[in-house]
C-alpha cells in the first residue's frame, strides 16, 4: 500500500483521488488550503447571483470522503522536499508521501499594474475571491461602479454577476472585439452586442494603465491606457487570464516553466511526482492543443488518466477531440473540434446566423477534402457524442449537415433550424445535401 498525496482538491485532484480509490487500496490524502471540501469553481458565479448556496456547489456530500477512505487535509503547502518525499505546510507540519500529485490549479494574472494590490481589486478564481466580492460589492450602494479588466470567459461571468445586483459595469477589453483571439469575428461581434444589451459599458481595444486608491488603500478609480481617461469605481475585477499556481513548487527540484513540466504520462522530472490540471504544462503540446489547457474537462481527463498510471497501469494522457462550452449571459456556446478565430490555409467556413442575433452555427471544414474540422454553436445545443463520432470517423461536412437533426440537443418542442441551415449551405456552395430525419438507430450506433 502506497501513500498517495494530492495537493489540490479541484476537479483534477479529486478525479484522480476517486479513480485511484476505485482501482486500489492505496492510502490517499487530499490536501487543499482553499476549502475543506471539493466545490465546483465554475459555479462560484451562481452563488453571488443567488442561484445557489455555496454548499450546493459541492458535488459530493461531506460523508463521501470518509466513506471512500480519502483523507482530507486542510492547509497550504509551502515547500516540497523531493529528496525526503515530504511536503511542508505553512505551520511547519509535514506529510510524507510515496507518490505526490500536484493539482494546484491556477491563480489570477496580474500584470504589474500600479495599484493592483489595493483594497477592492479582486480576481475571480478562489472561494476567497467570492468572499471579497461579497464584501466590496454587496449591492449598488456600496459599489456604485465596477471595472472589469480582461475580456475572457471569467470577465464576462463577473460582468453578469455584478449586473445581477444592478451594479454599473465598465468592461475593458484589450482586443478589438470580445474574446476575439478565440472566437471568429461574427460570433465575437454577436457577443459584443449581447453584452451591451445587458447594459454593460463595453470598451473594446482598451487597456488598463493604472489603478488609483485613496489614503486607506481602497480603490477609487482606474486610468485608461489609450486615452488617459479616469473612471471612478469601487471595485476592479482583474480577469485577464490565469496562470499556473505553482509558487510553492519553484524552490524544489521539480522542473517548471510557466507550469509544472510534465511528459505524456503526466510525470514530472522527479519519478514519483506528477502534475495534472491547470498547473501542468506539457513538454510538447499535443496536436493543436496548447501546452497548458486551463479548462475543467482537461483537468478531469488528466485525473482519470493519471489514476491508471498510479494504479500500475501506466497510461499516456491522450485526450480525444477538443470540446468546450460556456455561457455569455443568456447565450449558450458549445464547440466541438476546432474553429479558429481566423481560418487556416486549408480551411473553408460556413456560417448561419439567426436574425434574432442570439443564435448561430459556424462550421469549419477542409477546403479540398471537405473533412469536417469543427463547429461553434451558439444558442443551439448539439450532441457531444455525435460530433465525437464524426471527428473520429473523419466524416465530411456534408455528412454533418445531412445529419444535423441527429446532432441537435435542444429541449423538445424547440424550433429546429436544421433545414434552414442546410438550404443556406446548399445555396452558397451549389450542393444538394438533403437533411435526413432524426434516427435513434444512428444516434446510438457504436463509433
Amino acid at each position: 500500500m502506497k501513500h498517495i498525496v494530492i495537493i489540490g482538491n479541484g476537479i483534477s485532484g479529486v478525479t484522480a483521488a476517486r479513480h485511484i480509490r476505485k482501482n486500489s487500496k492505496n492510502q490517499i490524502t487530499l490536501v487543499s488550503g482553499e476549502a475543506p471540501y471539493f466545490f465546483s469553481r465554475t459555479a462560484l458565479m451562481y452563488v453571488y447571483m443567488g442561484h445557489m448556496e455555496f454548499k450546493q456547489t459541492q458535488p459530493y456530500e461531506n460523508w463521501f470522503w470518509a466513506k471512500n477512505k480519502i483523507n482530507l487535509k486542510q492547509g497550504f503547502v509551502n515547500r516540497i522536499d523531493t529528496d525526503n518525499n515530504c511536503i511542508f505546510f505553512e505551520d511547519n507540519t509535514s506529510i510524507s508521501y510515496d507518490q505526490l500529485v500536484i493539482a494546484s490549479g491556477s491563480k489570477t494574472n496580474k500584470f504589474g499594474w500600479p495599484g493592483q494590490d489595493s483594497k477592492g481589486v479582486i480576481g475571480l478564481y478562489h472561494k476567497q475571491d467570492l468572499e471579497q466580492l461579497e464584501q466590496f460589492a454587496p449591492n449598488n450602494q456600496v459599489c456604485k461602479h465596477a471595472i472589469i479588466v480582461g475580456g475572457g470567459l471569467i470577465g464576462i461571468e463577473l460582468a453578469e454577476m455584478l449586473r445581477s445586483r444592478n451594479i454599473p459595469v465598465t468592461f475593458l477589453v484589450r482586443e478589438k472585439s470580445f474574446w476575439n483571439d478565440v472566437l471568429p469575428d461574427r460570433e465575437s461581434e454577436m457577443i459584443n452586442k449581447h453584452i451591451k444589451e445587458h447594459h454593460v459599458d463595453l470598451r473594446l481595444s482598451t487597456q488598463l494603465r493604472e489603478i488609483k486608491a485613496n489614503t486607506s488603500g481602497q480603490v477609487t478609480s482606474v486610468i485608461i491606457e489609450e486615452t488617459g481617461e479616469e473612471i471612478f469605481c469601487d471595485v476592479v475585477g482583474l480577469t485577464a487570464g490565469v496562470s499556473p499556481n505553482i509558487d510553492f513548487v519553484k524552490d524544489s527540484n521539480i522542473v517548471t516553466g510557466r507550469g509544472i513540466k510534465v511528459n505524456r504520462f503526466l510525470e514530472t522530472n522527479i519519478s514519483n511526482i506528477y502534475a495534472i490540471g491547470d498547473c501542468a504544462e506539457q513538454q510538447e503540446p499535443m496536436g493543436e492543443r496548447k501546452a497548458i489547457e486551463a479548462v475543467w474537462y482537461t483537468g478531469r481527463m488528466m485525473g482519470e488518466t493519471l489514476a491508471q498510471t498510479i494504479c500500475n497501469h501506466r497510461t499516456a494522457y491522450h485526450p480525444g477531440h477538443w470540446f468546450n462550452s460556456a455561457k455569455f449571459f443568456d447565450i449558450e456556446y458549445q464547440t466541438y473540434g476546432w474553429v479558429w478565430a481566423k481560418p487556416k490555409e486549408n480551411e473553408a467556413r460556413f456560417y448561419w446566423g439567426h436574425k434574432n442575433g442570439k443564435m448561430c452555427i459556424h462550421l469549419n471544414y477542409d477546403k479540398n477534402t471537405h473533412e469536417f474540422i469543427g463547429i461553434n454553436n451558439f444558442g443551439i445545443r448539439m450532441r457531444h457524442a455525435f460530433f465525437d463520432k464524426v471527428l473520429t470517423k473523419k466524416k465530411s461536412v456534408s455528412y454533418v449537415l445531412a445529419h444535423l437533426s441527429d446532432a441537435n440537443f435542444d429541449p423538445e418542442f424547440y424550433k429546429k433550424y436544421a433545414s434552414e441551415i442546410v438550404s443556406k449551405f446548399n445555396q452558397e456552395n451549389n450542393t444538394s445535401i438533403e437533411l435526413k430525419k432524426k434516427s435513434w438507430k444512428r444516434i446510438f450506433s457504436e463509433a
Binding site: 476537479i11 479513480h19 476505485k22 465546483s40 465554475t42 459555479a43 451562481y46 452563488v47 447571483m49 443567488g50 442561484h51 445557489m52 448556496e53 450546493q56 456547489t57 459541492q58 458535488p59 456530500e61 445581477s164 444589451e197 445587458h198 475543467w296 474537462y297 478531469r300 481527463m301 482519470e304 488518466t305 491508471q308 497510461t315 494522457y317 491522450h318 485526450p319 480525444g320 477531440h321 470540446f323 462550452s325 460556456a326 455561457k327 449571459f329 443568456d330 449558450e332 458549445q334 445545443r381 450532441r383 457531444h384 457524442a385 465525437d388 473520429t392 440537443f409 435542444d410 429541449p411 423538445e412 418542442f413 424547440y414 424550433k415 435513434w440 438507430k441 444516434i443 446510438f444 463509433a447
Partner: protein, 542 residues
C-alpha cells in the same frame, strides 16, 4: 415598474386580508322550521339532537360562526352521548337486542361537518348578501394585485433566459421570515379546510353564485378550494410563462396542466353534477384517487346508469392500461408534469420553492421507503374495502374497513397530500407529496425505472459540475451526480419537469424518449478522453 409591483403587492395583501377577514363576519341563526326541515332531510332518528339544537338557537341573539359551531358541536356531543351511555348500559346488561337498536339513533359524520351544513343554511350577513361585491374585494383584488406584481416582470426580468437571480438572497424564497409566514398561512388554510370547514363557511358564500351557475347548488368548502385552486394556477401560470418564456417545453407543459386542471378537474365534474351525474375527474387516476373504490363511490356509480358504468370502466382502464402504457412511451412526466392537478399546483404556485427539495442520499432513502409504503397502504386499503364491499363483512384480514379508510383519508389524504404537501412548500419545496407520498407516482415510478423509453440524456463530457440542475430539481434528484459521470438520468422519481435541462448553463441535459437499449449507461470515464481508455475502463467496470 418596481412601483407598480409594490402597489400590486399592497393590493394583493388587502385582498388576502379581506378574504381572511370574512371568516369573522356574519351572524348565524336557525329558525325552528328551518331546523325541522334540516332534520327531516337528514333523516335523523335521534330524538335528542332536535331538542339540543333548538335549545342552542332559542335565544335570539346573533351568533358568530365560532359560537354557532360550539353550540352545534355541543348538541352533537350531548345527542350522541345519550345513546352511547345507553349502549354501554345495555352492553353491561348483555341486552344485545337493545344495544343494537341504539346505533340507528346515533349521528354519524364529523361534528364540524354538521356545523358546516347547518351554518350554510343559518348564515346571514354582508358577505352572503353581497357575494358579487365580496368576490371583487377578495378574489378580484387578489388577482389584480398578483397581476400587477407579476406582469411587470415581462420588462423587469429583461430578455428571455434563466431568471434565478437572487433566489437565495430573498426572504421569500430562501426560507426567510416571509417563507415561514406563507407556510403558516397555508397550513392554517388546510387545517381549516379539512378539519374545520364551518369556520370558513363565509368563503363559500362568496362563491355561491358561481357554484349555482355551474352545478345548480350552493358551494361547499370543496368548491371554494377547487375554484381557488384554478384561480391560483392561472395567475401563477402567467408567472411561469414570463419566467420561462424562452423555453417552449415549459410553456407547453404549463398550458397543459392548466387545461387539465380547469377543464378536467374543475369544469367537467361541476357540469356533470348539474346534470345529476356523479361529478368525476376523468384524469384523476387510482391510487392517487384513493376513494375510487370506496363503497359510497361504487354505489354512486352503480346507481348512475350507463355513465356510472363508463366511469367505473374508465377508471380501471386508466390505471391498469393507459397509465403504464403512457409511462412506457413518455415517462411519468406525461402525468406528473402535464396532467396532474397536484403537479399542476406544484409547478405554478410551487415553482418559487422548487430549490428546497432535499438532495441528500438520506432523503432519497427516506423517499423510497415512504412512497412505496404508502403505495402498499393504499392497495391494502382498497383490497380490504373491495372485499368488504362484495362480501358485506366489516373487516378483512383482521383489518376493519372503515378504520383503514378513515386512517388513510386522514393521514394520507388530508395531512400528507394537503397540509404537508402544499402547506410546507416554502420550506421543504414544492413536490413533497409527489416525491414522498403519492402512490400513483410510486406506481408510475416503478414502470419508469424498469420499462420505459424516457430518460434524461447527459451530453457526453460537457458537465462542469456546477450544480444548477440538482439545485432546481424539485424531486430532490442529484442530477449532477449522474451528469458529471456522463451517465443518463433514469430515476423513478423524475417527473420530467425539464427544469434541470433549462437551467443547465452548458447544454448538458435533454429529456427524451428513445429506444430502451442504451438508456441506462453507467460510465467511469467520460466522453472526450482517449477512446481506448474509455473503452478499457468502462469494460473493466462491467
Amino acid at each position: 415598474m418596481k412601483r407598480i409591483q409594490n402597489i400590486g403587492l399592497v393590493i394583493f395583501l388587502i385582498g388576502l386580508s379581506l378574504f381572511t377577514g370574512t371568516i369573522f363576519t356574519g351572524s348565524f341563526h336557525l329558525s325552528p322550521s328551518a331546523l325541522d326541515a334540516f332534520i327531516m332531510e337528514k333523516g335523523y332518528q335521534n330524538e335528542i339532537i332536535k331538542t339540543e339544537l333548538t335549545k342552542a338557537f332559542v335565544k335570539d341573539d346573533p351568533l358568530t360562526i365560532f359560537e354557532f359551531s360550539d353550540r352545534v358541536r355541543h348538541a352533537y356531543e350531548v345527542a350522541n352521548n345519550h345513546y352511547d351511555l345507553l349502549i354501554a348500559q345495555y352492553d353491561d346488561e348483555k341486552n344485545w337486542d337493545k344495544k343494537g337498536e341504539q346505533y340507528q339513533y346515533k349521528i354519524y359524520g364529523k361534528p364540524h361537518t354538521l356545523s358546516f351544513d347547518l351554518a350554510k343554511i343559518a348564515g346571514k350577513g354582508y358577505v352572503k348578501a353581497h357575494a358579487g361585491l365580496m368576490w371583487m374585494l377578495t378574489f378580484g383584488l387578489g388577482i389584480l394585485g398578483s397581476l400587477l406584481f407579476i406582469l411587470p416582470n415581462l420588462i423587469l426580468l429583461g430578455k428571455a433566459g434563466i431568471k434565478n437571480d437572487g433566489i437565495y438572497l430573498k426572504a421569500s424564497t430562501n426560507r426567510g421570515w416571509i417563507a415561514w409566514l406563507v407556510l403558516i398561512y397555508l397550513v392554517s388554510f388546510y387545517l381549516l379546510l379539512y378539519f374545520m370547514p364551518d369556520y370558513v363557511v363565509n368563503w363559500t358564500f362568496i362563491v355561491d353564485p358561481i357554484s349555482l351557475f355551474l352545478n345548480g347548488g350552493p358551494a361547499s368548502q370543496w368548491f371554494v378550494y377547487g375554484f381557488l385552486y384554478c384561480t391560483i394556477m392561472v395567475v401563477m401560470a402567467l408567472r411561469m410563462y414570463i419566467k420561462y418564456r424562452g423555453n417552449k417545453y415549459q410553456v407547453m407543459r404549463t398550458t397543459s396542466v392548466l387545461f387539465f386542471q380547469i377543464v378536467f378537474a374543475f369544469l367537467i365534474p361541476e357540469i356533470m353534477t348539474s346534470l345529476n351525474m356523479p361529478g368525476y375527474d376523468f384524469k384523476n387516476a387510482f391510487p392517487l384517487d384513493y376513494d375510487f373504490f370506496f363503497d359510497w363511490n361504487l354505489d354512486d356509480l352503480r346507481n348512475s346508469g350507463s355513465i356510472g358504468l363508463f366511469i367505473l370502466i374508465w377508471g380501471i382502464v386508466l390505471t391498469l392500461v393507459i397509465v403504464p402504457v403512457m409511462v412506457y412511451f413518455f415517462g411519468k412526466r406525461w402525468y406528473c408534469s402535464w396532467v396532474c392537478g397536484c403537479g399542476g399546483l406544484a409547478e405554478t404556485l410551487g415553482d418559487p420553492y422548487r430549490q428546497h427539495s432535499d438532495k441528500s442520499l438520506h432523503a432519497w432513502k427516506l423517499e423510497r421507503w415512504l412512497i412505496h409504503a404508502i403505495l402498499v397502504f393504499s392497495l391494502v386499503m382498497t383490497l380490504v374495502t373491495l372485499y368488504c364491499y362484495f362480501t358485506g363483512s366489516p373487516s378483512f384480514l383482521g383489518i376493519h374497513s372503515q378504520w383503514i379508510k378513515d386512517s388513510y383519508s386522514f393521514l394520507i389524504g388530508a395531512w400528507f397530500a394537503g397540509v404537508i404537501g402544499t402547506g410546507f412548500y416554502p420550506i421543504f419545496g414544492n413536490r413533497v407529496w409527489c416525491r414522498f407520498g403519492c402512490p400513483l407516482a410510486a406506481y408510475m415510478g416503478i414502470v419508469q425505472r424498469f420499462k420505459s423509453r424516457f430518460r434524461i440524456t447527459t451530453n457526453g463530457g460537457q458537465c462542469i459540475s456546477c450544480g444548477n440542475c440538482s439545485t432546481y430539481c424539485e424531486q430532490g434528484i442529484d442530477v449532477r451526480a449522474y451528469a458529471q459521470k456522463g451517465e443518463n438520468i433514469v430515476r423513478s422519481s423524475c417527473v420530467g419537469c425539464g427544469i434541470c435541462s433549462a437551467v443547465c448553463p452548458r447544454g448538458v441535459l435533454k429529456l427524451e424518449n428513445g429506444p430502451e437499449k442504451g438508456r441506462i449507461n453507467p460510465t467511469d470515464i467520460l466522453l472526450g478522453n482517449n477512446i481506448d481508455l474509455i473503452q478499457l475502463v468502462n469494460k473493466r467496470e462491467k
